[in-house]
C-alpha cells in the first residue's frame, strides 16, 4: 500500500516537501488555514489540499487522517504543532508524527509527549551555516538522527598533516568513525592500518559535537 503523508500548516515548507514527497511516490495531503496558500498549494499536481485549522479534530477527519501513515506539523507556532501531532498520534493512531519547533530546548519536551521526530529549523540552519563558513571545501553533510549524527564528506588537501599516516596513528575523537575512503574510482573500507593519501575523500560518521574537531584534525586547519 502506498504511504500516505499529511502535512499540517506551513506554506513554503509544505510546498517544497509536498513536491519532493510526491516525486518519491508518496500520497500527500496538505492542510492549511489560509485560503490563498491553499489555492497556491492546489496547483501542485497530485496534491490533495484541505482548507482549515489542522489542530481541530474535524478538519483532520475531513482530510482522512485515519488512513495516514505519517503526519508532519509545519506551522509557525510550536503549540499548534504539538496539538496537531498529539491528536494524530493519540486520537487517530497515525504511526509516525514529525514536528518542527522554533526553540531547540523544546525538543525533549516534544519527544516526552510522544512525538516521534522533532526537527528544529533554527538548529539545522545554524549548523549548516557554521559548516559552510568554516569549511567551504566540504561538499556534503547529511544530518542523521534528528541532526545528532552527521555523515560528512571530507576531501583531504595535500597540505594536511595526516597524509601518509595510518588511521590508528591519527588523533581522532572516539565518537568519530571513518566509514569509507574514496580514492579515485576506488572506494576502500578502511582498517586501522589504511594509509591516507592526498586527494582522498573520507566519509566521516560522527556526532555533531565532535565533527568540527575531527575535520580540523583531518584537514589541518
Amino acid at each position: 500500500m502506498n504511504t500516505r503523508v499529511i502535512l499540517i500548516g506551513g506554506f513554503h515548507k509544505a510546498k517544497s516537501l509536498a513536491m519532493s514527497l510526491i516525486n518519491k511516490g508518496y500520497t500527500v495531503t496538505a492542510i492549511n488555514n489560509d485560503q490563498r496558500h491553499c489555492s497556491e498549494l492546489a496547483e501542485i499536481d497530485k496534491l490533495t489540499v484541505f482548507f482549515g485549522d489542522g489542530t481541530k479534530p474535524f478538519v483532520l477527519e475531513d482530510a482522512n487522517v485515519y488512513s495516514a501513515d505519517i503526519a508532519i506539523a509545519l506551522t509557525q507556532r510550536d503549540e499548534d504543532n504539538l496539538v496537531a501531532c498529539e491528536l494524530c498520534k493519540k486520537k487517530y493512531n497515525v504511526k509516525k508524527t514529525v514536528s518542527i519547533i522554533s526553540e531547540p530546548i523544546k525538543a525533549d519536551f516534544f519527544r516526552q509527549m510522544g512525538i516521534d521526530s522533532v526537527v528544529c529549523a533554527i538548529t539545522a540552519i545554524t549548523n549548516i551555516i557554521e559548516q559552510q563558513a568554516f569549511l567551504n571545501e566540504m561538499a556534503t553533510l547529511i544530518p542523521i538522527g534528528e541532526g545528532r549524527i552527521s555523515l560528512a564528506r571530507v576531501p583531504i588537501p595535500a597540505a594536511s598533516p595526516i597524509i601518509g599516516k595510518k588511521l590508528l596513528e591519527m588523533d581522532l575523537p572516539r565518537e568519530v568513525i571513518v566509514g569509507c575512503i574514496l580514492r579515485g574510482e576506488e572506494s576502500i573500507i578502511p582498517r586501522g592500518d589504511s594509509r591516507i593519501l592526498a586527494g582522498d575523500i573520507l566519509m566521516l560518521i560522527s556526532s555533531v559535537k565532535h565533527e568540527m574537531i575531527a575535520i580540523r584534525e583531518l584537514t589541518g586547519r
Binding site: K56, R77, E79, L82, V83, L87, I105, F109, Q112, M113
Partner: protein
C-alpha cells in the same frame, strides 16, 4: 492548631498564563488572599485589567516560550493556570507545566472540548466555559419551566 497556622503562612506560588478577564480576575483574588502570584501576558496593555491593589508579579512574554517559563521559575510553582484565549497555547502550557516541570496542580481553560484526548491522560484539570454555561442555562430553564414541580 499549630500545624494549621503554619500551613497558612506558607505562600503558594501560582503562575497564571494570560491576563484576560478571567486571568486578571483570578490574579486579583489570589493576590488579595495573600498568595504569591505571577501573571504572564505578551501584551503590556493586558495588565491594565489588574486591580491597583494587585501585589503579585507581572511578566511580559510568551507563555509558550521556555525562556519566559524559566524566568517565571515555573519549577517552583505549586499551581499553574493557563487561561489565554488560545486553546493550543493552554494545552501546551498545561502539558509542559505538568509533564516537563512536574507542577503539582495544573488547570487549563479550553473552549473546544473535542481535543480532550490530547490531555486527558495527564493530570490536568480542564474547564470548558461552553459546557459550564450550557449547564447553567439548562438549570435556569429547568427551574423556570417547572418551579412548582421542583417545589
Amino acid at each position: 492548631m499549630k500545624p494549621a497556622l503554619k500551613e497558612k503562612t506558607i505562600k503558594q506560588y501560582t503562575i497564571i498564563a494570560g491576563c484576560g478577564r478571567l486571568g486578571a480576575n483570578l490574579a486579583n483574588t489570589l493576590s488579595n488572599n495573600g498568595e504569591s502570584v505571577l501573571i504572564i501576558d505578551w501584551n503590556q496593555d493586558a495588565f491594565r485589567k489588574l486591580s491597583p491593589s494587585f501585589g503579585g508579579q507581572v511578566l511580559l512574554g510568551d507563555a509558550t516560550d521556555m525562556s519566559a517559563l524559566h524566568e517565571a521559575e515555573i519549577a517552583k510553582a505549586e499551581t499553574v493556570v493557563s487561561v489565554t484565549n488560545n486553546d493550543n497555547t493552554n494545552i501546551f502550557v498545561a502539558q509542559i507545566a505538568s509533564e516537563y516541570y512536574g507542577v503539582p496542580h495544573v488547570i487549563a481553560r479550553l473552549y473546544d472540548s473535542e481535543r480532550d484526548i490530547v490531555y486527558k491522560e495527564f493530570k490536568i484539570d480542564t474547564i470548558y466555559p461552553a459546557v459550564l454555561s450550557a449547564k447553567e442555562i439548562d438549570k435556569i430553564l429547568y427551574f423556570h419551566d417547572s418551579p412548582e414541580e421542583k417545589a
